[in-house]
């Protein structure tokens, strides 16, 4: 289970995260929807430990990990850019965490089969399409046997038609892990296809919602308010 409580992150007077709290049970996928600059990516970076928070705490399976370094949190992280290691092959990318005592040969076979990467293992990331780059990034995170998965708009490089095909597949793979998953997107349709629960983020605040339509309404109201129209 992943819990964040009253997370605060500010740059000067600007509160990028403003008392953000959330709780995700094992096997559930929470999708956070928000516009660019709403604080979504900062939230993930604070949970991974890449960015320190000013206040609040992060708990994984009941353990407070707020003061731990990123390498000690056992979090699987797929950033927006996929951030593959271009000097390594697909195989070497996937088993990267093995150097740090994570993963197993069985796990490798499982993620390669799940994500249909068998024919691409000896290729370099630059030889792959956006869709396969996203698959490799996910496989690399899955192989490390994380306690929590964080995905920051991992399908940005992929067109809508391909997303419609990939997202149910990703959802199935993520459910098989039975760990909490936090998925970030600005696309309500993408959220609908992958999420079990939804939240919307605006001005550094997080609000749980029932459906993706609510997110759309909240974001629209915020944009109009920001433009002085509503």
């Amino acid at each position: 289970m992943l819990e964040v409580q009253n997370l605060v992150k500010a740059y000067g007077d600007l509160r990028v995260l403003d008392n953000v709290s959330a709780r995700i049970e094992n096997g559930r996928i929470l999708v956070i929807i928000g516009l660019n600059g709403s604080g979504k990516s900062t939230l993930l970076k604070v949970i991974t430990g890449i960015l320190p928070c000013d206040n609040g705490c992060v708990r994984i399976d009941g353990q407070d990990v707020t003061s731990l370094e990123p390498e000690d949190r056992k979090i699987g992280y797929v950033p927006q850019s996929t951030a593959l290691f271009n000097h390594l092959t697909v195989r070497e990318n996937i088993i990267y965490s093995q150097k740090n005592g994570r993963g197993s040969p069985d796990g490798f076979e499982a993620v390669v089969s799940m994500l249909n990467l068998r024919g691409y293992l000896s290729k370099k990331p630059k030889e792959l399409s956006g869709g396969y780059r996203a698959r490799v990034a996910l496989a690399r995170a899955l192989y490390s046997q994380p306690s929590v998965m964080l995905l920051d708009e991992p399908l940005t490089e992929i067109d809508h038609a391909k997303k419609e095909q990939m997202l149910p597949e990703f959802k199935q793979v993520l459910h098989q892990l039975n760990i909490p998953v936090l998925y970030i997107t600005h696309d309500p349709r993408e959220a609908e296809l992958i999420g079990d629960a939804f939240a919307v983020m605006y001005d550094g605040k997080l609000k749980t919602i029932g459906t993706t339509e609510e997110a759309f309404e909240i974001i629209r109201a915020q944009v109009l308010a920001g433009a002085g129209i509503a």
Binding site: G49, E71, I75, F85, S97, N100
Partner: protein
């Protein structure tokens, strides 16, 4: 036709071309045009010339290696420890050797590692040895290597390093396993630039390493000595040799992208 051509030439071009030809190309050409067969033969027959060539390449190579090693250390601070006092001091002092007159750099090294402070290492301390020549070259070339490594680090996507951390790498491991391999081209550039700067150094080398023919004399000081002795033809030949080495380095620098790919 001629009128059309004139209209296409901008004022910047009209100023740049003659000044570039006069101040950059012409002096280099002057060396080449002043080469004489007798001067070439006399220089190539001089064993001290070849000793200075060997010393130059050897000391510049080790100076560049040292510069690269320290620059990689700076690169680590540049990526992971930017908020620290150590980083700020290192970043500030990186520019100092560039701004300092190199005679001052040489004197600083002489005072720091000469007879007074390092008398136990020999009658002149570390000064006036090939190691001193290497240190002098390193001192003036390191800033270039450090700046090049920092530029190389800027080319690497920050999220790649972040992901390596979440996969279990400490900052040191992420630097070794991800940053350094991805910076390949930057590392080659840093080495070549550092090597080039080392080869061209004169003032700091003379001050700290001396100019002992057959021992600490390098190509730059060989040229100086030959001019002082009135052997201009030999100085010209040695200078042309320096230009040849510099051309190799420039070509190497231009080729680095292809080599890395």
């Amino acid at each position: 036709m001629a009128g059309n051509l004139m209209r296409k030439v901008s004022l910047i071009e009209l100023l740049f071309v003659p000044f570039f030809l006069l101040l950059i190309v012409y002096p280099i050409a002057a060396i080449i045009f002043n080469l004489t067969p007798a001067g070439i033969a006399k220089t190539f027959a001089d064993p001290l010339f070849w000793t200075s060539v060997g010393s130059t390449i050897l000391t510049a190579f080790f100076a560049a290696l040292m510069g690269l090693a320290l620059a990689l250390g700076f690169g680590y601070y540049y990526i992971f420890r930017k908020g620290t006092v150590m980083y700020r001091v290192a970043d500030f002092l990186n520019d100092l050797p560039i701004a300092l007159p190199h005679t001052v750099a040489g004197l600083a090294l002489l005072l720091a590692f000469g007879r007074k402070a390092f008398g136990f290492a020999g009658p002149t301390g570390l000064a006036f040895t090939l190691f001193a020549v290497t240190l002098a070259m390193f001192f003036v070339s390191y800033p270039l290597a450090a700046r090049t490594i920092a530029s190389g680090a800027d080319e690497i996507e920050r999220e790649v390093i972040d992901v390596a951390r979440t996969l279990g790498d400490s900052t040191t491991r992420a630097y070794q396993r991800v940053v350094i391999p991805l910076m390949g081209e930057g590392i080659i550039s840093a080495f070549i630039l550092s090597f080039s700067r080392s080869i061209s150094e004169f003032a700091a080398v003379i001050m700290f390493g001396g100019n002992v023919p057959g021992q600490t004399q390098v190509l730059a000081s060989y040229v100086f000595t030959k001019v002082e002795e009135g052997e201009v033809a030999m100085a010209v030949t040695a200078s042309a040799f320096c230009i040849l080495i510099a051309l190799f380095l420039v070509v190497g620098l231009r080729m680095r992208g292809k080599f890395h790919a």
